[in-house]
């Protein structure tokens, strides 16, 4: 037995290029295609609204986002997903994103990073997948706008 927890006899599994939860999160942040050419990209996103928007988005993409479950707290508190929390944490730890000091209420992604990540996703994904990602980003955009009014 070489290496750790493999045991499955395969170096690469078949899901290598499948769209993952992290692709959905990155696409939601980077594509924003629904905002149109004239509109500014969002480089600041309210953390609570991101959770709320994804909780709604999950209902529209139950298969793709099936591993992003949410728990709902009392009195209209923010729905929380451990999987989403992990992805946001990893985006922070890798330096792609940060949370704005001192209120820690907003995620920040510089515009140049949004552009470069979008370019990288576009290069790696075929037309159909890009279409899916753009559709998801459009939905996210609308849900986010609605959610951000809630605070």
């Amino acid at each position: 037995m070489i290496s750790s927890h493999l045991g499955r006899g395969k170096v690469e599994d078949s899901s290598e290029d499948e769209l993952r939860l992290s692709d959905a999160v990155l696409a939601a942040f980077c594509f924003q295609s629904g905002r149109g050419e004239g509109k500014k990209q969002r480089t600041r996103l309210r953390v609570n609204a991101v959770y709320r928007a994804f909780a709604e988005l999950r209902k529209k993409y139950p298969d793709w986002l099936q591993d992003m479950s949410f728990t709902y707290g009392p009195a209209d508190t923010v729905p929380i997903s451990g999987a989403l929390e992990d992805i946001l944490f990893d985006l922070g730890a890798s330096g792609i994103m940060s949370v704005e000091n001192p209120r820690y209420a907003y995620l920040k992604i510089p515009a140049f990073k949004l552009i470069l990540i979008r370019k990288a996703i576009t290069e790696r994904r075929n037309e159909a997948e890009q279409g899916e990602l753009r559709r998801l980003a459009d939905e996210f955009d609308q849900l986010y706008s609605k959610a951000s009014r809630k605070g």
Partner: protein, 507 residues
Amino acid sequence: MPGATRDFENRIEAFLQELLDGYTPLKIRGDKIIRDAILGHNVFYPHEINLIDSPLMQRLRRVHQTALAYLTYPAATHTRFEHSLGVVIFAQKIIDALKSSSRGGLISDVKTAEIRLAALLHDCGHGLFSHASEIVYDEWDPTGEIRTLKRADPKLFGEAEGHEILSYYIVRSARFRELWEDIISKYNMAPAKQFRILTKVNLKRVANMIIGVKASSDYPLWLSKIINGPFDADKLDYMGRDGYFSGLVTPVDTDRLFVSLSIFDPRGDEPFICVDIGGATVLEQILFNKMLLFSSVYNHHKVRGSFRMIASLLQEIRSKQWTVSGTRLKFAVDFLRLDEYDLLNSKQVNRELRVKVRKLRERILVKRALVISPQALKEKDLVSQRKFFELEQQQSKKNAMELELAQKAGCDTVFVDFPPRPRVEKIGKQSMVRLSEDTAVPLSKLYPASGWIEGYSQYRRRSYVLVPSGYEDAVADLALKLFAERDIKLDKKLCLELAKRPRRLGS
């Protein structure tokens, strides 16, 4: 997936038949006092003693709470058994606190008995080495039965952990009900009230409490949140207990918390547990201690090393269908058939297994070749940041890298380890603090606890490349090369310094 659920239930039934075979509960004469190292003397009721004495709970004595962390923190030998008792004690304290506050009268004797049972049994689904076996049958098995159950019923299991799902099905099983009925039949001569309470206990409600969902349509959700919620009896116990036995100072001013608790229902439709403003500080302590436990204990490089070693060994036992003490690890419930004594004994017949077990018995653990902190990724190098992020998200890529490193270095094991992150959002955003008679807000509105997680992710986060002793230098060079080939440029000096390998810098 009704078929998959039925198969799963059948396997649980078979496991319990085997486990409980020969166990006959005896009539216990009176309450018992159990002395806990942290929580002092506490009362347990006769029917609870029967459950505690049953093989279902006794096996938890052989499942350490923090897996092999005791190889790093020598006193961290506490088990799921005493933790389960601790959760009962904390659950009772929360019940008492709520009873003495407004609306507390709603917690009837039956509900109290059910909450205590949920507390006692909440971890009965833990396999050997706790989360180290859970990762094998859950996270590393994306098409396995636990994932299938979660996907089939995300409302029920979406956010539940693998062991919670096992506990849930155990408590709902026919064999467990049989045991329960056997136990309560011993007390039908007890004071009538006591017997009546026990006969009204509903095990389905107990199971629902374990996974933190509404126990039944006529039970408020907050009752389940005593066991599984933003701040629950489980967290109150494990944080203090893990801290205490690892020697870390993680005080939680629980007395202050309990006098702050009340049930709040401003709209008259959805009551929930909240703390008053004075108790908010205690919630902050809980959040802070969670971060501290992750950075100092759970994600300590040696603890991670032993965790990865035992998890990969369990994965190997499963994939190669080795037999350990007459058991094969095929399904999730099989990880409950074995305990740590079964695996860590020196008499394993399989030579390959014996060699690996010996390493754990003698604490021959993997060592750090590289340590990657967030600062090792350059601030402006987005390609590296993105590739590093992608690597972390994709198990197959990590597996491939481990395999390549091990092959090139000529050693049998390399771990590219990204330790788990402390999840704190639920505590921050769903714990409610009461400000006045008709206002309550989430803790995060009063104190931006997300700042701590941001600080942790930016400064305390560590990923590791772990290798057998003697291979550190070779693998460090190879790993840096492999990361570079994957467009991940790391600050070599920093990575080696953090791995305490600065001598390599000159070479």
